[in-house]
Amino acid sequence: MYKDTVLPSVLEQVVNCKDELAQFYLMECIIQVFPDEYHLQTLETLLGAYPQLQSTVDIKTILSQLMDRLSNYAASNAEVLPEFLQVEAFTKLSTAIGRVIEAQADIPIVGAISLHVSLLTFTLRVHPDRLDYVDQVLGSCVKKLSGKPKLDNRATKQVVALLSAPLDKYNDIVTALRLSNYPRVMDHLDNQTNKVMAMLIIQSIMKNNTLISTADKVEVLFELIKGLITDLDATTVDEVDEEDFSEEQNSVARLIHMLHNNDPEEMFKIICSVKKHIMRGGPRRLPFTVPSLIFSALRLVRQLQGQDGDVVGEEVPTTPKKIFQLLNEIIEALSSVSSPELALRLYLQCAEAANDCDLEPVAYEFFTEAFVLYEEEIADSKAQVTAIHLIIGTLQRMNVFGVENRDTLTHKATGYSAKLLKKPDQCRAVYACSHLFWVDDQDGIKDGERVLLCLKRALRIANAAQQMANVARGSSGPVTLFVEILNKYIYYFEKGNPQITSATIQGLIELITTEIQGDSTSALPTSDPFFTSTLRYIQFQKQKGGILGEKYESIKV
């Protein structure tokens, strides 16, 4: 009865009164007073009346109200959804909106966009599975936005609302990636808002733990977040706040770990795609984004490690070698933008991975790059100490090198260790090098002589350091270095290095005791806790008995 009698006559009255205030108020009333099921069934009639109203009536607000009511109706009661389909609500509403926007060509853009936001909310509630509808709404918005000048704040806010709605609705970003008009809407945002939107997208992915699993989807994603990946506008570079910039780039770095596929071929494609994009980031961005990509690739290398390089089919499958070539290129880009310390660390990581894949030339190449960086780019003395220890630590674990290659690298490492600026640093690095000649594995190198050479060299440096302290400060420096070296002697003594005898150890103990007493006549050997606990350790080993106990028997503490 409502449909056939009540509504038509009411609408006729409204139209005929020709008073804009009354029309607006009455249309609002109709929407609010009558139940939603009625509106749904009479949609055509209702919408048909709108163009007949006075041109000054704010139809947008009425339409929005109607759509919001219908959206809420759909949200509250899932059973009514089929009815929406039956009356073709979406089509009717989007046509009506189109007509309104066309009729009022000079409305401010914010009005048109907010209409689209209402329609999008409606669509997401009523037809969430109809991505084509969603895309259609975005498309119509794009059309409206093209050719328009820059958006003002209110319009921008509406566009952000428009873009956020699908993100919130579809927790899986992959769905949003399928909306072809989504990137086109983003293009109309100014650079700042574009970046804000890109951050929202990344946050959505991180929050929902979404994995992006194909290179194609990665491409679309990077298109969306391009505001973060590269400078869209040359003039904005200086204005960016340091903290904001770091936050953005760290978000991109975290995002890279969400791009994954267990299939090595697809994963390699993903890595290549990411590389292509982050390489456009420029010197400020590379230090943030490159490490994530490197480790993502190293994980793939490890996955492939177990597999043999059998060529099946026509295409050559992804091999660790191929990935290492890629890694080399990427790290090279990093070292050319003044991040030598980071690049050195990454080269060493790759060297270790190449070692595990049994690729001697590749591992050697990575070590070469690391040494070149050390020689040419790392001048800070503290940085040098860390760098040389990383080189020694990595080299100590390498088992892929033949004698010649190994000799060249250990020679370089020991040489640089002895050339560090401060004597204590020299001493420590040199005795660390002793471990390069003794690896505890079954097939590990066990060159007792070269170990002893390193330790003796360390002792000489420690002596020199003591003498320097005497001259420079009038009193001898702490005996720490000597005790450290003593501990190293003990280490190799226990491992069975034939070059180190109990006499050697006894001699060193006496040397240290003399050094401590030489400082002040009242000093007791127990005044140095490090020395004391070392002696206690020897005592403990003696009391343990067995083979070790026997070794220590002749040492007196």
């Binding site: 943030f288 994530s292 994980r299 990581q349 100590q396 505890d440 226990e494 403990f540 080993q541």
Partner: protein, 190 residues
């Protein structure tokens, strides 16, 4: 009863996007009295997050840490125990117990906490205990394959410390505990 959280090698954002959700929900502010961190956070955001869990935060420098001002080693006293903290990349060979024992003697501590290998370990030897809390995010390591996210919670009570290790294995948090008792005679008074 004093609770000390020991963790490290998160490598955020280089090797991992975040702590595992199950760990995050367990680490609630106000429950822990001290946090000791072996290093390699690696960014300020992680530092700030740890600070919200507990204001008494101690960190040593890892080779990837953005903030290079963290110290190489740190020692602190909690109750009857002296604790030592060091990332571990400075001690070669990496992960070698005897070399770590030397560092322990040098720092003169009962409990030495180090990282770098991303492998949880807890050794008791003549001089005390060496603990490696592993990597809290399960970050990729060149040293250890198949890293499970892990961290350690120490309950220090008088001369006894109970070390709880939390490991995320196949999506489930597994807990294990080890008891250590300190004999009063280990450290002679100076």
């Amino acid at each position: 009863m004093v609770l000390v959280l020991a963790l490290g090698d998160l490598h955020i954002p280089h090797r991992a996007p975040d702590l595992p959700a199950k760990f995050k929900s367990m680490l609630v502010p106000g429950k822990i009295q001290h946090i000791i961190c072996t290093g390699n956070l690696s960014i300020k955001e992680v530092h700030d997050y740890l600070k919200t869990l507990c204001p008494d935060l101690h960190i040593t420098r890892g080779e990837y840490d953005e903030d290079t001002r963290y110290p190489e080693t740190k020692t602190l006293t909690i109750g009857q125990f002296k604790l030592g903290l060091c990332h571990g990349h400075q001690v070669i060979p990496w992960g070698d117990l005897d070399s770590l024992a030397m560092l322990q003697r040098q720092l003169d501590v009962d409990i030495l906490v180090t990282g770098h290998t991303h492998q949880f370990t807890a050794y008791k030897h003549e001089g005390g205990v060496v603990i490696n809390p592993g990597s809290a995010t399960g970050a990729h390591s060149s040293i250890t394959y198949d890293v499970n996210p892990s961290f350690v919670l120490m309950d220090i009570d008088g001369l006894r410390v109970v070390v709880y290790v939390y490991e995320l294995i196949d999506g489930e948090v597994k807990v294990d505990k080890i008891d250590f008792k300190k004999t009063a005679s280990i450290h002679t008074a100076h």
